[in-house]
Amino acid sequence: MVLIPITQIKFTMKLYKIFFLFALALITSCSSDDDSTPVNELDGIIKVKEFTNDTHIIELYTSTGTTQQGYNEISLRIKDKTTNNYIQNATIEWMPMMHMTMMNHSCPYSTVEKETDKETLYKGYIVFQMPQNESEYWDLKIDYSINETNYTVTDVIDVPATEKRVVSSFMGTDNVRYIVALIDPKNPKVALNDMTVGVYKMENMMNFPVVNNYTLKIDPRMPSMGNHGSPNNLDLTQSASDEFYHGKVSLTMTGYWKINLQLLNASNEVLKGEVVTETTESSSIFFEIEF
């Protein structure tokens, strides 16, 4: 008599379990995890080129295996030609230089530091604000000392133009030339992306220091979608830890995005860039992202 409801309960319990398992299987099949590979000196970086002098070979690496216009994170290591060993205790300085037909100038760049957790690698960044062309080129001079002996090497470095605009050099209303360079997102997603930008000013032809306490306003737009814009973007402000400017950029779909910019100084005065409106479709300074 009582058996029927019990079997019925068992039956539905079983069904519930089947559905649960099914749901579980679907969920687990969607997530993957394989970032547990062992640490290697050259993990994630590819050799760009070698600089050679009488004593050493200097290997340059980037994540893509190339250098290009804009922000470049460069790792390098020094190989002793005689012992074939990599030097672990060098002090390194570098100096990128653009050789134009009329003049030479440098660009924003960082110091070169030994990479933490790595034995032989040193690292820094360079912002090439303009690409090379047929008659004008970039070279990189590397001065280094090992056990208080100084060495030097200089070679041409390849800086082709990027397809999309990732660096912008402009004159502010304060008559100062500024350079803004897009660092992140490197792999943009349809999401709220972390955005990082380096902001520099040109003190003279050779010095391009980081500017402090400015604000970089952003307005991402899709010109192909009637200038569709995205919500919840966070304007970029400088972080205390790395001197770069950090914010959030939301991209609501894949495709071509124009990140319109406005640079504001510490007293919130606009130095360059316009607000996007119905009539002003784009700011005079912007970055481009396409994915």
Binding site: T12, A23, E290
Partner: protein, 654 residues
Amino acid sequence: MLLISTVSWTQEQVKDSILPVNLSEVILIGKPTQVHQKQAKPLASLDEYLQQSGRIDMIKRGGYAWEPMINNMATERTIVTIDGMRIFGACTDKMDPVTSYVEISNLSEATISSGQEGSCHGPTIGGSLDLKRLRSTYSELGLSGSLSSGFEFNNKQRIIGGMVHYKDSSFYADANVTYRKADNYKAGNSQEIKYSQFQKWNASVISGYQFQNKLIEGSVIFDEANDVGYPALPMDISLARALITSFKYEVAPKSGLLNHWENKLYYNTITHFMDDSKRPNVPIRMDMPGWSDTYGYYSKGKTKKDKHHLLFNVNGFYNRSIAEMTMYPSDPDENAMFMYTWPDVRTLYNGIYLEDEIEFSCHNSLKINGSFGFHQNKVANEFGLESLQIFYPEMADQQNRFLKSISLQYKHQVKDWFFSVCSGYGERAPSVTEGYAFYIFNSFDLFDYIGNPNLSNEKSVEGNFDIRYKTEKIKTGITFSAFYLPDYIIGIPDDNLIPMTIGASGVKIYEQLSFANLIHSSFQCDYRFNDYYSWNTKLQYSYGKDAEKRNLPFISPLQYQSQIQYKKNRFQTELNVIGNATQTNYSPFYGENRTPDYAILNLSVGYTFKWYSQKLLVNAGVENLFDTYYSTFTDWNNIPRMGRNIYINLNFSL
């Protein structure tokens, strides 16, 4: 034979002993013999059948796939089931209501239940529509079949179909195929409505085997529509395909606790491709495919103990809804723009429904029913989750909720008068669109919609009142249903957001109003003058306002329908007038404008020829006799309805 009647007997037995006042309305569709004598246009679409109901209005976006509203509430607030199976359309723009994936040849009847009366198959607010499969359990032993064909002159709709039934003492099988193809229809004054063409074919098989007092039954429906135009929308569909399958096990114990016990496992899958390749001028080319898969079960039992008629239904489903949008920039070198409009949302529901109808005497009874269920939504796609996190950075990938409902109904009979009073409380979860939409464009109010995963349950407190009077000559009644809907879910404009769709007016986010009120009322009167003449009239009126006293959209103005029928032997003819008063309570805030009044006249004749056992049923008629140009309050973007249409339906049965 004996066993079939056992099963059907137990089904009927519980029903019959209770007061014959049922708030549910039943529309007969394909029941052989009965229906062909009743329907003026037997090969009408399911949509046309459904709109005969006083509770149902159909939202039209074109000539095909109309969306049923029950008590003026659309898909989110109602449930549509096929023999108790849950199915969910795969289109973000509601171009494929569940009813578009079945044919009249698949069905025997449609049961419309209002409000919490309809909560047997799942949580609902507005009510439920259960479509019953056609099976030859009632027909005679042996092999039988029929062929039907129809033609409609207005849109050159060609209909052809065939059915085969087989039945012996323990086994039955039914198979049918229907094909429909229509060109653009013409509105009044011969104005062609571009992109209103459609083409659809449907096949279904249902088969059962009975042994002892048990029945096992399998059912498959395959439905595919191609090249369907939606003149009221900016896009059409190239494909809408459904496979609907189920397996049922039914027992009618001769003794024991239960009188009848029915178990079903089901699976259905829907593929829907929205595209705009037929439209010459679009701001941007796009594809919007969608998929919806549902796995489900139910176990339903009935029993009678003393004065109690008890029913339980344990049911659950797991649905996966995913929809994409890819837009192609005019510059071919630019990357395509891609997003998930439904980010692979998995919905899991498990619930129990209980009902007890207490029969105090043969003149009054009380019905109590309630349900409790667990509802879970999970965004299974990382891409989609991160997309929504643009709007809701703290959003979790999973939302859980419990859904409750309870309702109480008292029925009373005094001589020829029947009264029924019902009150109820119910809850529903937000739909996939309401919870997780990502820039879904609504061409009605021209807004892009964003879902809101933080919505709480929408609630409903309802009261129903029903009076009927029935004698041999006259059958009349009024029904009145009032709904108070706290936490009413609707899109509210957010001025800070920039629309995605080119030409859109803005972005709406699904929010909850503190409440909304809805009232639906109808009057019906059937009068038989004599054996040959009968007259039938229906009136319907609704009222709907939100918490800010703004009108709700798609609320019925006064609607009327009146017909005179003459039936003698094998001949029948019918004259029918249908109309609306002017829609004065329209809702500009929700994108609606005023719809003027209209009235149309339809005329039909039917005759049955008989030779021995063969029968040929011929029906012909004219719809919208005076070729009136009109649209109604349910016509999306005021798309005009069909002008004069002459049709002929033939059914030949062996």
